[in-house]
Symmetry: C2
Subunit: 652 residues, 2 copies
């Protein structure tokens, strides 16, 4: 937190941490009211934070938004906020404990002045939490904006956000630290691992877990890739050995997913999010309904009938998703027509150019799939928004479910069709390779280079503008320009798309692993570039996101596990269909199928037992957790005992 | 708690609740030490309970154990104990909250004198808990018994128990209440449900949940039984309709298991065990090892290396179980030989008597199965004991796993063999019926009537003895005789065998439901008698068990769910094998099998989705639970706020 500090209205300087941007047409009384509420003491229901208006930019004559505010906090306020959000920090004995001011000196790294005890990301998270829990008292609406209704206990920030008065709220980057981080992360050529702790320090646990998973997943695929290469080079058609390869893959997939849980628990323990309790979840900003009473808190709050939401889900969303699936099926059939047409042309006139033509339909199809996924994504977001979920978590779950089902179908339907209806293994291999490679190239382009290029153009404009105004001695931009620049950067929308991409890659590797053993190699190569491009886009393309105290990768663990179950079925079926296996049962196809099914069931049972046998949390962390629990139980007992003694004294 | 009270050494009268029986050869100094520790004040590390030696019986000349002690407690002590064990009671606002003496007056049913606030079962559970947490201070061994080593913090009762100095510790029956309970439970002819709340009041939550499950399971089977009867009466061989029946059964099984979870959560919430926190688990009494340090508590405690336990499990227990399975397979083959032999005799000379002979092998086999199960049960207990598990829960899990696997195999192997290897549906039906009926009759006999008969003989002897001594005006036995009588009753070993029986019955119903639709009817009939015989044995045959604050049926839920998954596989296979279904695919057996497998996978997927979709805890209870959590969070926040204000005052 060494960057340029700012001056509070009271005259004291503070470090700006978070930027709040209000719409330019916000009424002055609303601004004044909001600022006074933010500055007000906690006893009076305020947030007790520092807040200050950002000075005008270099070319103030241009139409620019004056309503940009910088928010910071005193050191004491941050510590009390850390207690509010239930932050876990390392204790002097090496265990992780919930921070309390009462025994702050027993925490490791807590120095008198407290510098470096809280990371900047933590401070920003605390400020965000304090702003979000700034609640209306007896205001009925935002002053000057009568359409923005308020009721006692309503989060002011959420109402401003849902009414469009608050444009955005985002944490500031810290140039020095970012430079250091990006150097150790993606700039230097290295053989070392990603600096996960530094990533967590700068971006928070959710981001760090994603990059941890990406790295883990890449390493986990290396054995599959290594084994796959000789299969690809030497024994294209030797299914005998493919059986071994496929069985290894299946067990390996199960094992890596189970071990990831343990690894992620270790990370989450070290980062203090494993045993952190979730705060009570507020309604999401977009949630609307008739004012009623929350049955849990007893507070006034909008209420929306569950039955109505279910009607929307089952009568509108579900049919819509099914329609989209049908559409995707239709597009798939068109692709097969194109494929057949290309094949006939090649058969009639087999030249080099018609040979290339054979790949064209797959490439077009891959592009179309990506476009459909993108469009569907927007539709799914719109529908899920319209379903009006009360909680962000419920909204996310419904969105993930919709998107997952469609993307899975869209990406893999044609492969399933080729594998099990057409039973054409050569075409399957070719389609798999084309789809995989095309979608990788498209993804990298769409998610990193395109936004970067757009951002670069904007940055250059600003720098040129600044240089036009005055010749800077130091190369750094002044704070005002820097904030406005960051406010214009694209918003990072969370790890959803990144996980989705990994999920689909995992599908390409696992579902048909015995047909195309090179898939793992391609995915490993992709992941290595993915680490760099994702790191790059986090550091250079997007606004800094607020940190998200995640303890695991959430619903994605389930999605990956579901995929690995489906993979058992498809791989067994593929092996059963291979001519080499068929040769073992020359007389009876029935015997072959029964054996295949029996082995498949055995593998599935084995999978479930394995999932059950491997504990989700490593033993040494379990011990640490139960020691903490035991100590708090003992402390409680001692407290009760003392109370009882006092009580008995009073009675005597 | 109106029964005859006893006189404490201090002269005050108290209600005896729990009986502690020491071995007759216990040294006097050990007895005196134990009593003083039990009576000592809590501040000095005692249990602060009342304890008194039981007076001599009527024929004291006979060799009888003088070391029987009655334990009770003062009302204040019981309340503080209720806080220690974390008892949940109904609050004045209807929610369930952890009891604290500080706000005891806000709990419903709490009167000034506190009578009837705690049930007798709760008082007894509290006393058991207080006795068990009576810990050694600086004694190195039990006085007079140098082999019974102690170390600071070791539970005295557990050490006495493991060294055989403590023979038993059990709660006393309460004649009046028992009479009332047994009348409303099994004596009156009734159409009403079981008095679950009264059962819980008298026996505790574990027992009540078992009887609740038994009743629920019986009602849940009624639709299957009702649909099964016409199938049995009219359409023996019409597999078309069996498909419908089987699919109904499969979905029904999943649904009832899911709904049970919700029902059991409701019960557990009402009884205050749902959100009750588990206390820190102590090593079980039989656990031994070298003295070391517990990594969690940091206390001195025996330590036994996990690797050594794993060696015992994988190198001894596992091979032993496999050997037993092989033996069971061998016995099964002998049964098939006998079956074939009976069939040839019947074929040669088909009279009425040889017709009956056909059933003999099945009956013999059923009896042998029961005997093998019984012997194996002892072996499994011995082995699991020898594996030296530290925690009772871990011991129980390993025991249940061993017993379940063997019993499943032993009971169903022959049926699987007949169904899928011999493919003889007529024999399957006949074996299923014979096994089911024979094992039901044997079970009822073994578990209720035999113990009852033994107990009756003993009771009569005592009563005769008493009447010989003096002619009693009142028909009731004096306290001394009553206690000695109860001490001689058999010990109830928990709900393990009862659940196991239900598990196997569930297997008979679900695994082959499409072959023998009458199974559900038989199981319903059995369950109705089971309710009565189990109730009877709880009230009349066994010692009163300590209540067990269970929140659900534990590992049995998992076992039943596993069975219902296996049932999907077997039923689909049976349907696929039926000639009627085969007739739909005259040309290709492959098509038939593929369809069967596809439908089976579909059903399994549907089952898992259903399990996922139905929430485990009903919504209204979820709301109550989160309200409680929310309130405690708010209270914490308020407390912190106050502390902060005080802190700031101190600094000013």
């Amino acid at each position: 937190m060494q960057r340029g500090s700012s001056v509070d209205s009271s005259g004291s300087r503070f470090t700006p941490l978070v930027v709040v941007e209000l719409a330019s047409n916000t009424k002055e009384e609303a601004v004044a009211w909001l600022l006074s509420r933010i500055r007000d003491q906690q006893q009076n229901g305020g947030a007790e934070l520092f807040v200050e208006q950002l000075g005008p930019g270099i070319d103030a004559q241009e139409k620019e938004n004056p309503n940009i505010f910088l928010v910071g906090a005193s050191w004491q306020r941050l510590l009390s906020g850390a207690e509010d959000v239930g932050l876990f920090k390392e204790y002097s004995d090496g265990s992780m404990r919930g921070f309390t001011r009462a025994n702050k000196h027993n925490f490791k790294d807590f120095n008198g002045d407290g510098d470096d005890f809280l990371s900047m990301a933590e401070c920003q998270y605390i400020i965000k939490h304090e702003l979000e829990t700034l609640r209306a008292k007896d205001e009925t609406h935002v002053p000057g904006h009568s359409q923005a209704k308020l009721y006692p206990g309503k989060s002011i920030i959420r109402r401003l956000l849902s009414k469009g008065i608050l444009v955005q709220i985002f944490p500031l980057h810290e140039k020095e630290e970012l430079k250091k981080l990006s150097f150790s992360w993606y700039k230097k050529v290295k053989l070392s691992l990603q600096p996960l702790d530094d990533i967590r320090h700068y971006y928070g646990e959710g981001q760090a877990l994603y990059f941890g998973f990406l790295e883990y997943f890449t390493f986990a695929l290396v054995p599959m890739a290594l084994i796959g290469v000789p299969y690809y080079l030497f024994d294209w058609e030797d299914y005998d050995k493919y059986v071994v390869f496929a069985v290894f893959n299946l067990i390996w997939c199960t094992v890596i997913l189970e071990l990831w849980k343990r690894f992620s628990a270790s990370l989450a323990y070290r980062w203090g999010t494993l045993s952190r309790k979730k705060a009570f979840e507020e309604p999401r900003p977009g949630f609307h309904g008739v004012l009623g009473f929350n049955p849990v808190t007893g507070r006034e709050e909008p209420v929306y009938p569950t039955a109505k939401r279910h009607l929307r889900i089952y009568l509108v969303s579900l049919p819509f998703v099914l329609l989209c699936l049908y559409l995707s099926l239709y597009v798939m059939m068109i692709y097969f027509h194109m494929e057949g047409w290309a094949l006939t042309i090649h058969d009639e006139d087999p030249t080099f150019w018609t040979g290339i033509l054979l790949f064209i339909p797959s490439i077009i199809y891959a592009v179309v799939i990506e476009i459909m996924n993108l469009i569907y994504r927007y539709a799914a977001e719109f529908l899920t928004e319209w379903e009006n979920h009360r909680l962000e978590s419920s909204y996310q779950n419904h969105l993930v479910l919709k998107v997952l089902v469609f993307n899975f179908f869209n990406c893999f339907a044609s492969l399933f069709y080729i594998a099990f209806v057409m039973q054409d293994m050569v075409l399957l291999r070719q389609s798999l390779a084309t789809l995989l490679i095309t979608s990788q190239i498209l993804n990298q382009f769409m998610e990193a280079f395109l936004p970067y290029w757009l951002q670069r153009r904007r940055n250059k404009k600003v720098i040129r503008k600044v240089q036009k105004q005055k010749t800077l001695e130091e190369k750094e931009l002044p704070l005002e320009e820097q904030v406005r620049l960051e406010a214009d950067m694209s918003t990072y929308l969370g790890t959803f798309d990144d996980y989705l991409e990994l999920f689909l890659l995992f599908g390409y590797v696992s579902l048909f692993s015995c047909v195309y053993p090179l898939a793992a190699v391609l995915v490993v190569l992709n992941n290595i570039t993915e680490v760099y491009s994702d790191a790059f886009k986090m550091c250079r393309v997007f606004k800094r996101p607020f940190s998200d105290p995640a303890a695991n990768i959430g619903v994605w663990q389930l999605a990956f596990e579901a995929m690995s179950v489906i993979a058992v079925v498809t791989n067994c079926a593929l092996i059963g269909m291979s001519p080499q296996v068929k040769a073992y049962f020359p007389d009876s196809e029935t015997q072959l199928i029964l054996w295949t099914v029996a082995i498949e069931h055995g593998l599935l049972a084995f999978k479930f037992i394995l999932t059950f046998l491997i504990p989700d949390v490593p033993k040494h962390i379990q011990i640490k957790l139960s020691r903490l629990e035991f100590e708090s139980l003992e402390a409680l007992k001692k407290k009760k005992m003392l109370e009882a003694v006092e009580l008995s004294k009073t009675f005597q």
